[in-house]
């Protein structure tokens, strides 16, 4: 069923009794062309684009829990393409373009809201760095605008401009950035994939791979063995655990990132604001809650919960840039487990095992990448070669010395 004003009206008149489940719950078949391991945003978008753009429809998405139960359900929903490096920026810009057409494309309301993102700067050197970043963005076809202090004052008059330690001198704005409704992104992709014949198999954990003589011929799951020509792993947060079953060690550590939501308030924030001196970012959801976060906890964890020192650190960052949030009450907080890669950049690559593909290492930037990650991964799986904007996301880039170190922090996952 396609959603339209007419379908909503006719449902309203018939008491909303005609809505059908948005995807099926099939049993696994014996064999697929492609098995996507992981039913999160990236896994579902991979299956969607495989079916829609590349004509591969004998696809299964195998998910250990329920659909979208991983990081797509545990983030701060920001979309943007304000990257610097040539290995990154064109990729995230493709993602931004896909976001802009997403709802029309999969006929589902993902509440993509391009309300803009402003990265504040506090010193001359930081301004120069942001000017350079803005130029890199424009050269890659994205939009960027450098605001001086007055420009930021007009946009966000409530910020603490005269903070003694970190006075706000201006900001880099990407007006096309914003937020999207994270769960609806997963549901929209699931529906779009399902309607094109993709089997979405929930509550089915992959416990091993069927690898013989360096060729991957399927997966071992809690619902039995499933054969496939190609197996595409896409389980960010659990990448090390799952790929260890295939005998691989990865340049990845798992860390937790906490996020927070305040009580619902009247509209106060025009868009997304990031504090350049501390690590703090904030936006306002359509329900009115202030959604914010900061640094990762910084040590290996799979616990999906954080510790109090980072809560304090994030709140200090918030108070430094935007003292008025001190009056808002915190409603809830949560932690997501992320693959922190050694250079802070992701992987979309084949592995040394024939027929086994890997997508992961998204650090805490995976949500904005959801459409392009799926698109480029599907391209790699279907065509056997990387998409032009994802050629640098290789697993062997550390061995070759071609790291994509956006933050310049070196091989220290907890600093990215």
């Amino acid at each position: 069923m396609r959603y339209s004003a007419l379908s909503i009206l006719s449902q309203a008149l018939s008491g909303n009794t005609g809505w059908k489940p948005v995807w099926r719950e099939p049993d696994p078949k014996e064999h697929y062309d492609v098995i996507v391991v992981g039913g999160g945003g990236h896994g579902l978008s991979t299956a969607y684009y495989l079916a829609k753009e590349f004509g591969v429809t004998k696809v299964a998405v195998v998910e250990k829990g329920w659909l979208g139960s991983g990081n797509i359900g545990r983030n701060t929903t920001i979309i943007r393409s304000n990257y610097l490096l040539p290995g990154n920026e064109p990729f995230y810009e493709l993602s931004m373009k896909l976001w802009e057409g997403l709802e029309q494309d999969f006929n589902y309301n993902a509440m993509v809201s391009q309300r803009g993102i402003v990265n504040l700067f506090h010193s001359d050197s930081q301004r120069d760095a942001y000017a350079r970043r803005g130029n890199a963005m424009v050269m890659a076809g994205a939009d960027a605008e450098l605001l001086d202090e007055d420009g930021v004052r007009r946009l966000c008059p409530f910020l603490d401009f005269d903070n003694a330690r970190f006075p706000i001198r201006g900001g880099l704005v990407q007006k096309r950035g914003g937020t999207a409704r994270h769960d609806a992104v997963a549901w929209g992709y699931a529906r779009g994939a399902d309607s094109r014949g993709v089997d979405i198999i929930q509550n089915c954990e992959v416990t091993g791979f069927d690898i013989k003589n360096g060729v991957c011929k399927g997966v071992v799951t809690s619902k039995g063995r499933i054969k496939a020509d190609k197996v595409a792993v896409c389980v960010a947060g659990s990448s090390s655990r799952v790929m260890a079953a295939a005998g691989m060690r990865l340049p990845i550590e798992s860390h937790v990132l906490q996020a927070f939501v305040s009580e619902g308030l009247k509209p106060v924030l025009p868009g997304v604001i990031t504090f350049g001196a501390g690590h703090f970012y904030i936006s306002q959801s359509d329900k009115g809650g202030l959604v914010f976060g900061g640094d990762i906890d910084g040590y290996n964890t799979y616990a999906q919960r954080g510790n109090l020192p980072v809560v304090e650190d994030v709140c200090e960052g918030g108070m430094a840039v935007m003292p008025m949030i001190g009056r808002a009450r915190l409603l809830r907080m949560w932690g997501g487990v992320m693959d922190m890669s050694m250079d802070g950049s992701p992987f979309i690559d084949k592995t040394d095992i024939n027929g086994l593909y890997f997508n992961g290492g998204w650090c805490y930037g995976g949500f904005k990448a959801t459409p392009a990650s799926g698109y480029c991964y599907a391209h790699l799986i279907a065509r056997g070669e990387p998409h032009p904007v994802a050629t640098e996301f290789r697993l062997d880039r550390f061995r070759r010395g071609h790291i994509i170190d956006e933050k310049g922090a070196g091989a220290q996952p907890n600093l990215h």
């Binding site: 655990r241 990865l250 550590e253 616990a303 020192p309």
Partner: protein, 106 residues
Amino acid sequence: MIIDHPLLGPRDAAEFVILGDASLINRPDPEAADAEERFYEYVYLRDNPAGLHRELWYHEQGDRSWLVVTRNTLTHEIAKVELARGIAVNLASASKKKAGRKGGSA
């Protein structure tokens, strides 16, 4: 998290910074024939287990000692805390003995 420092007793984890996997103590031999490959693995690849994990914590806002903390990455429970120095000294003397047996140069 509370880290039970072997010399100073229980301390808040916020006093520490973490370096990562404790296997980083065991630096490969730069003179070895396969040094390039081993340094690539040493610098970039990690086991990243879900469960017990040995890691290096530096008591930056305390006595500036390095500790090896054995911690459960699923529960944040700390099973064991040791001084990294003791472990490093043992490692060095073990590798010296090994080199001696092989008749390698000092």
